[in-house]
């Protein structure tokens, strides 16, 4: 399993649970929308952090 795939799996599972637990979204459609938003945010921010850290010698 690649690091990217692990991150995508993690994002997907956390997004599913967050969408189910959200108190601000009451219908399935808005929960789905929120879940997709959380998933996208996780992946994009993860990639952005990876891009920033890539040149560092760590």
């Amino acid at each position: 399993m690649t690091h990217f795939l692990a991150m995508v799996l993690f994002s997907a599972l956390v997004a599913v649970v967050f969408a189910a637990l959200s108190s601000e979204h009451h219908d399935p459609k808005s929960r789905l929308k929120y879940g997709v938003k959380v998933f996208g945010s996780f992946v994009l921010i993860g990639l952005a952090i990876a891009w920033v850290l890539y040149p560092l010698p760590i």
């Binding site: 399993m1 690091h3 692990a6 799996l9 993690f10 599972l13 956390v14 599913v16 649970v17 189910a20 637990l21 108190s23 009451h26």
Partner: protein, 166 residues
């Protein structure tokens, strides 16, 4: 002699302007009120919370939130099993290693399964080449987050049971 307090002056101004002071102070629950809200007995509340803590998703099932309960159970179970598949391991409190207490607390969030695995000593031992696996740290993170997500699910169960959420 002291005059009226600033709070009473503010309320009086609001009343004179025709605005209800509570409207701005209270959260908007109109969306939640429009749906069915549940407030169960304290005994059932505690039973649901205890069940949610023991088995992920079961608290929601007890409260009749079938879809949400199944989604939570599925998500947490998949995250927990993925953690093991990625060579992660569970933590138990070790004397002198404070970080292990923190990680153990997060792992314990998964509920009964943690204690069954602890009793059977499955998933706690670290094989010699296990830490060298590229996904080792991911596995640990998945196992920790699975427990933490279940703690959130327990709080959600409580909120639903007391009628704070739909």
């Amino acid at each position: 002699m002291s005059g009226p307090s600033p709070a009473s002056c503010w309320l009086r101004r609001k009343r004179l302007s025709g605005e209800k002071p509570s409207e701005k102070l209270l959260p908007d629950l109109s969306a939640a009120n429009s749906e069915q809200r549940l407030a169960v007995s304290p005994v059932r509340t505690w039973i649901a919370c205890a069940a949610a803590l023991v088995l992920p998703g079961s608290g929601h099932l007890i409260l009749g939130r079938w879809v949400r309960g199944i989604v939570i159970a599925f998500g947490i179970a998949l995250m927990f099993s993925s953690g093991f598949l990625m060579q992660g391991h569970l933590f138990k409190p070790e004397r002198g290693e404070w970080i292990s207490w923190l990680f153990s607390f997060a792992n314990m969030g998964i509920g009964l399964l943690y204690f069954i695995l602890l009793a059977a000593d499955i998933g706690f031992q670290l094989a010699p080449n296990q830490a060298a696996a590229p996904t080792f740290e991911y596995g640990n993170t998945f196992l920790l987050v699975a427990g933490l997500l279940n703690m959130l699910a327990v709080m959600d169960t409580y909120d639903i049971a007391v009628g704070r959420k739909t």
